[in-house]
């Protein structure tokens, strides 16, 4: 959209922690006992910006800040004959700094669910409009990263408002604006901006382009699954080692399922949207006891068919951005790459369509 620029790192840090933090809730990645998590910037120690942009991907995807684990819907008080109910859905002006391109792409996918279909979720849309996404190009991908295979470029500014390129050897911090919102946000900080010559901009891109991502090459470019795959025998076999925990879904930037749950404290209470997981045995169990997905086979199949087939049918996209979190964290290695590999072998053996 626009040229690559540089700004002074300390000046930007001061602005973000000062004036910007008064106008926005600013979230940045921090290292907490070895776990990278996004935290509200409150009283940062100097040098935080450099640390934040150098951190590896967060355990929880940045985009989950827009769909929090417990997201208030309404508050109520009183008894059955005189309830008072108030709207508790909230959206604030948000800056998320340090968003990895995979997580930014995930928001584009979630837009298809929450914002592009009829029955728009206005709370999500409003949050999306009020959020400035400051991405950071991937200097050092994890061995488990495979975003390139899923069509994400780890240096692309496309899905963010502003993009930081934390590469060494430049005077100042390289930045690129990729939306009007980003432009306005940048202008609002009144930083000293130096425009970089086109060749430097190309050098930066070449630098990021050259960073290898071996797992992406292994994964290739998966095609969507057809509905026929529902009946493959593989589901029973691969699901045997599943622990039925919700780790993969909660760490997945494109998983979005939620439950609506009431919590009452005496005469007062809160109804909230809460994350839920199709891996939990009771996810679909009805009050009468009927459960359409009674065993691990149906549940594991649902997770992978949903990402590789159903979302593709409905939204035209495979719901995986190659962030690699499930590859790293699934306690029993039942992750996207492993399942994809096994599916490919199964389909090749059965003469079915490739993936």
């Amino acid at each position: 959209m626009s040229a690559t620029i540089t700004v002074d790192l300390e000046e930007l840090e001061t602005q973000l922690a000062g004036d910007v933090s008064r106008r926005f809730d600013v979230y940045v990645p921090v290292d907490e006992n070895g776990a990278v998590v996004f935290r509200r910037l409150t009283t940062p120690a100097s040098g935080w910006l450099k640390r934040s942009v150098s951190l590896t991907r967060s355990v929880l995807p940045a985009n989950k800040l827009l769909t929090p684990q417990t997201d208030p819907v309404l508050r109520f008080q009183g008894g059955p004959t005189d309830y008072e109910v108030s709207d508790a859905a909230a959206s604030t002006d948000l800056v998320i700094l340090g968003v990895k391109p995979c997580d930014a792409r995930a928001l584009k996918l979630l837009d298809k669910v929450f914002a592009d279909e009829s029955d728009i979720d206005q709370v999500y849309v409003e949050r999306r409009q009020k959020t400035v996404l400051i991405g950071v190009a991937c200097e050092k991908p994890e061995p488990t990263c495979f975003c390139k295979a899923m069509g994400v470029s780890p240096w692309s500014s496309d899905d963010c408002d502003l993009m930081i390129y934390p590469m060494q050897g430049l005077e100042g911090l390289a930045l690129k604006c990729s939306s009007d919102k980003g432009q306005a946000f940048l202008a609002g900080m009144h930083l000293t901006i130096r425009e970089l010559p086109a060749e430097t901009s190309e050098e930066i891109e070449a630098h990021y382009r050259a960073i290898p991502q071996p797992l992406s090459e292994f994964v290739g470019h998966p095609e969507a699954l057809s509905l026929d795959s529902f009946e493959l025998p593989i589901w029973g076999r691969i699901s045997e080692r599943c622990l039925s925990c919700g780790l993969c879904t909660y760490l997945c930037p494109t998983c979005y399922c939620f439950a609506v749950v009431d919590k009452s404290l005496g005469e007062r209470g809160l109804r909230a949207r809460c994350w839920d997981s199709c891996m939990f045995p009771d996810f679909l169990k009805m009050a009468g006891g009927h459960n359409p997905r009674p065993t691990k086979k149906e549940r594991v199949r649902q997770r992978f068919m949903h990402k590789l087939c159903y979302t593709h049918e409905r939204y035209g996209q495979i719901f995986c951005v190659g962030c690699g979190r499930c590859v790293e964290k699934c306690p029993v290695g039942l992750h996207f790459v492993d399942v994809l590999s096994q599916l490919r072998r199964e389909l090749a053996g059965g003469g079915g369509d490739g993936l």
Binding site: V37, Q69, T70, R241, L243, C245
Partner: protein
């Protein structure tokens, strides 16, 4: 080089041959073991649980130092009742696994007759995080430097129950290795400081239930955390609910934890869940004089109500 540290080809051959015999003779109908995951470029080798039903599949079986998960809880997935042969399963047990299995047996979740145990005296699994720092470049790495912390403090290398051992027993380190260093550090804090520590830990919890699902002491048929009547725990994740979740779990496994360390190993958020269990373990040792608080027994100190108990409640 590192690969050689991880593997024991001789043991693997023994294991495969024995499992083949057991399956072919019909002594077991399936075998719970480990298989090596497909090798992915740049990614640590990993062995994952698998179920072998066909003797011709035994070549898939491995036993190495990256067999992280315990297999015993998979027994609860197997069908019960009817033809009990269906549930006659063979499995690999290390020291910690055998304690975990004892737990399930004492809780009447698995019966000893249903399982055939191939015991493997174990000298430790490697820590994935430690391994990732040296893999695959470092030419010379000592095994000790990449072993899991729980394994370094292990005092039950040899299985306590088994039907046969696949190799010689190893010498046990004295149990004083379990020294509760971190527990003592937490005990020394003031209540307010301690609250802050746990508040920070629990606020990271995402309630994925991985810790509960791997835990051999979490073997209830219906978990109270999933009951909405009474709804002591909902899916809300306010800090009070987080405390409630971890306290309920800690109290449920108090005196029943076998110290396998699986909860901490699987937690994606790096929460020190195990310290709560170790605090209980230390108390049980000190208050009830149990030398080895991890060893499951018929009557657990906190598992029996004594009418003469000086405390009125519980």
């Amino acid at each position: 080089m590192i690969a050689a540290l991880l593997e024991d080809k001789h043991l693997e051959e023994l294991l495969r041959a024995r499992v083949r015999q057991l399956l072919e003779s019909g002594q077991i109908s399936l075998f719970l073991g480990y298989e090596r995951q497909e090798s992915l470029p740049g990614i640590l080798p990993s062995s994952v649980p698998c179920i072998i039903r066909d003797p011709s599949d035994v070549a898939r079986l491995v036993f190495d130092r990256v067999c992280h998960r315990s297999l015993v809880k998979y027994l609860l997935d197997l069908p019960t009742g009817g033809d009990s042969k269906e549930r006659r399963a063979g499995l690999v047990v290390r020291g910690c696994d055998s304690l975990a299995l004892q737990r399930l047996i004492q809780d009447h979740r698995v019966s000893r007759e249903e399982v055939y145990l191939l015991g493997i005296p174990c000298t430790g699994m490697v820590d994935k995080r430690k391994l990732s720092k040296v893999y695959p470049q470092s030419p010379s790495v000592s095994l000790e430097s990449i072993l899991d912390d729980t394994c370094l403090g292990c005092d039950t290398h040899n299985p306590v129950i088994y039907d046969e051992l696949l190799c010689e027993k190893v010498s046990e380190a004295p149990s004083s290795v379990v020294d509760f260093v971190q527990v003592r550090r937490l005990e020394a804090l003031s209540p307010d400081e301690r609250y802050k520590v746990w508040e920070a830990e629990f606020s990271r919890c995402i309630r994925c239930f991985a810790c509960r699902n791997v835990c051999p002491a979490c073997d209830c048929r219906q978990c109270t955390l999933e009951s909405n009547d009474p709804g002591w725990i909902t899916k809300h994740t306010s800090i009070s609910e987080q405390f409630m979740f971890h306290f309920i779990r800690a109290f449920h496994v108090a005196g029943r934890c076998v110290g396998c360390g699986e909860c901490e190993r699987v937690c994606p958020m790096g929460i020190n869940i195990g310290e709560l269990n170790r605090k209980f373990m230390k108390d049980i040792r000190e208050l009830f004089g149990r030398d080895n608080p991890k060893m499951p027994r018929d009557v657990e100190p906190l598992g029996k109500f004594n009418p003469d108990d000086p405390e009125e409640f519980l």
